[in-house]
């Protein structure tokens, strides 16, 4: 087990370094001089331009630039925003908590709703409810989140006036109001994960139902629910772990759009603004932070997998 974990950790570190190369390379593929974009109209001043270039390390070869950038990053210096000329770290720290609160909420929603719907679909296989859930899951995957957001705002906020149209209230200020503001955005962020979670739960329950020990349990005369909850779910939920890891990526992806539409001052909204301003340092820092979260959660999922399923750590770690 120790060997398996060590191998996975080493792999994660390599991948993390590659992510920093990819995100650093964004500055390189950007047409035009980063220093000129940084200075804006002041770029006409040759001396200032040269100084800025040296300050941003743009006068050095790519590999040195990258090493310096990663070093600064690890020391907590994420560079300065091209547009606001403020430290990116401060801008991110202000917004990190909001995005993570939303993400956590959405994750809880997607796991509970997804697994429950998956169980419902598998136990009603090829019957009415299975088909309904299948169609809903397909819509959940196919519907653009910006459109579902508008539809929900139109129905729940503008038409029935049940929920606020947009905005964010910190939970420590007014908890009830905070929840009311978070219901729509979190649900919409969770939607694609709910859909994949439902499909995976359904498929793996159906797989496990074919196993011999389930047949044995059935022939012992055990009740359907006992078989489902004691014998089937325990094994069927293992593959769902993988989907859980992938969901975290899709939740963060979804937060970009949802924060923009619901006017929530989180990291996603910051990135959308950065895109419109071509503010690359913010986008780079955002990519590195999000990828770190995703790589760490994938690592945890893999290690958890190794713990619950010994076959995997033998196949992957000790070859």
């Amino acid at each position: 087990m120790g060997k398996y974990i060590a191998k996975r950790v080493a792999q994660a570190i390599v991948v993390m370094f590659l992510v920093t190369i990819i995100s650093y390379a964004l500055i390189q593929i950007m047409p035009g001089d980063a220093a000129v974009i940084y200075l804006g109209s002041d770029a006409a001043d040759e001396e200032l331009l040269a100084r800025t270039r040296a300050e941003l390390n743009l006068d050095k070869p790519f590999i040195i630039q990258w090493v310096l950038w990663v070093k600064n990053f690890m020391l907590g210096d994420f560079g300065k925003s091209f547009h606001y000329h403020l430290p990116v770290k401060d801008m991110i720290m202000e917004r990190l908590g909001i995005t993570f609160t939303l993400g956590l909420f959405a994750l809880v929603i997607s796991v509970t709703v997804g697994i429950l719907l998956g169980i419902a679909a598998a136990t009603h296989r090829n019957k009415f409810w299975d088909n309904v859930i299948n169609v809903l899951a397909n819509i959940g995957i196919s519907a653009p989140s910006f459109w579902i957001s508008l539809l929900c705002i139109y129905i729940f906020a503008l038409h029935f006036k049940l929920l606020p149209v947009q905005g964010y209230v910190p939970p420590d200020k007014d908890f009830g109001d905070a929840i009311r503001h978070m219901i729509l955005p979190c649900f919409i962020m969770a939607l694609p994960s709910i859909a994949t979670m439902t499909r995976q739960t359904r498929a793996s329950i159906l797989d496990v139902l074919n196993e011999d020990y389930v047949r044995t349990a059935r022939s012992k005369g055990l009740k359907k629910n006992v078989i489902l909850f004691k014998h089937v779910l325990k094994n069927a939920l293992i593959p769902v772990l993988t989907v859980l890891g992938m969901s975290i990526a899709s939740l963060f992806g979804g937060s970009v759009m949802v924060e923009q539409i619901f006017n929530i001052p989180g990291m996603g909204q910051m990135v959308t603004t950065a895109v419109l301003n071509r503010d690359i340092p913010i986008i780079q820092a955002y990519i590195v932070i999000i990828s770190l979260v995703i790589i760490l959660s994938a690592l945890l999922v893999d290690i958890a997998y190794g713990i619950v399923d010994p076959r995997i750590r033998i196949a992957k770690g000790e070859k």
């Binding site: 590659l18 047409p31 653009p144 459109w147 990526a249 992806g253 970009v256 990519i287 999000i290 995703i294």
Partner: protein, 280 residues
């Protein structure tokens, strides 16, 4: 006989037939947009602005008096062309890199596979946005940005398939008679490994349409006055309270097309996989 079996498996469910028809109409709309569109999609006419759907304007007009139906038809063109080119970019690069990784193994495999891992750990939409921003806004750059996010999945699929095929006897035979690596890959490996990749590329069309719509919605995709569906949704958003159809119609179109691509893609995969076909 074999084809007949395939088609009966493909169209076993009514929903697949419906979706295929929808996709057919979508392609026709895209190809014949100039013939079908009743108005010029970019023609601004302020005296006709915000007309509700009626006989002269079947889907109404937007805030600048442009005919929504005409813009939808031209928007279909943009969606279709961008998604086709971007999945081809993703498919071909994934095929080449996956074949190299699977065939050579060792360091080549490690470098390519770890890079694919790194690309996978960035959420696709964020990767697309970042590349789109860095490259700047042009149709080709959007195609590249959307295409790149599908590369890692394609690499993994192609690599796995090549790994299994390269151990087969005919590849060994080719190597024994002294054929060079390039020839073996082009002549023996790629033709025998490409079918799952083709299916996955077909299945990613829906995702590509969605990615393009998302970019356009955020204002970093297709630039006005070109009528991309995503741009139409974001333009219509401001009138959600008074003219909800302006945002809801193009959004609904995106959803239906993506849904159809996904359903037909799933059916195609199942119909080509004899294991699943036997069960259903």
């Amino acid at each position: 006989m074999k084809d007949k079996l395939f088609f009966s498996a493909l169209f076993a469910k009514k929903i697949v037939i419906v979706c295929t028809v929808i996709l057919g109409l979508f392609v026709l709309a895209a190809v014949f947009a100039p013939v079908l569109a009743p108005y010029d999609p970019a023609a601004i006419s302020l005296k006709d602005k915000e007309v509700a759907p009626c006989l002269a304007h079947l889907l109404g007009t937007d805030s600048l008096g442009r005919d929504v139906l005409s813009r939808m038809l031209y928007g279909a063109r943009i969606s279709l062309s961008i998604s086709l080119v971007s999945v081809l970019i993703g498919g071909i690069s994934g095929m080449v890199l996956g074949t190299l990784a699977g065939y050579f193994g060792g360091v080549v495999d490690m470098v390519i596979s770890r890079c694919a891992d790194a690309l996978i750990s960035i959420p696709p939409i964020i990767l697309t946005i970042a590349i789109g921003t860095a490259l700047g806004q042009s149709t080709l750059n959007i195609m590249i940005a959307v295409g790149i996010s599908s590369i890692p999945g394609n690499i993994r699929m192609m690599r796995a398939k090549v790994l299994s095929v390269k151990e087969r006897d005919f590849v060994t035979a080719a190597r024994v008679i002294g054929e060079d690596n390039k020839w073996i890959m082009l002549r023996h490996l790629i033709p025998n490994c490409i079918s799952p990749l083709i299916i996955s590329v077909a299945m990613s069309l829906g995702g590509a349409i969605m990615a393009e719509a998302t970019l356009s919605f955020l204002g970093i995709g297709i630039q006005p006055p070109n009528p991309a569906w995503g741009t139409m949704v974001s333009d219509g958003m401001r009138y959600l309270e008074t003219k909800p159809y302006l945002a809801l119609i193009p959004g609904f179109a995106i959803m239906i097309i993506v849904l159809s691509f996904n359903i037909v893609g799933d059916a195609l995969r199942d119909a080509l996989d004899p294991r699943i076909r036997g069960n259903s």
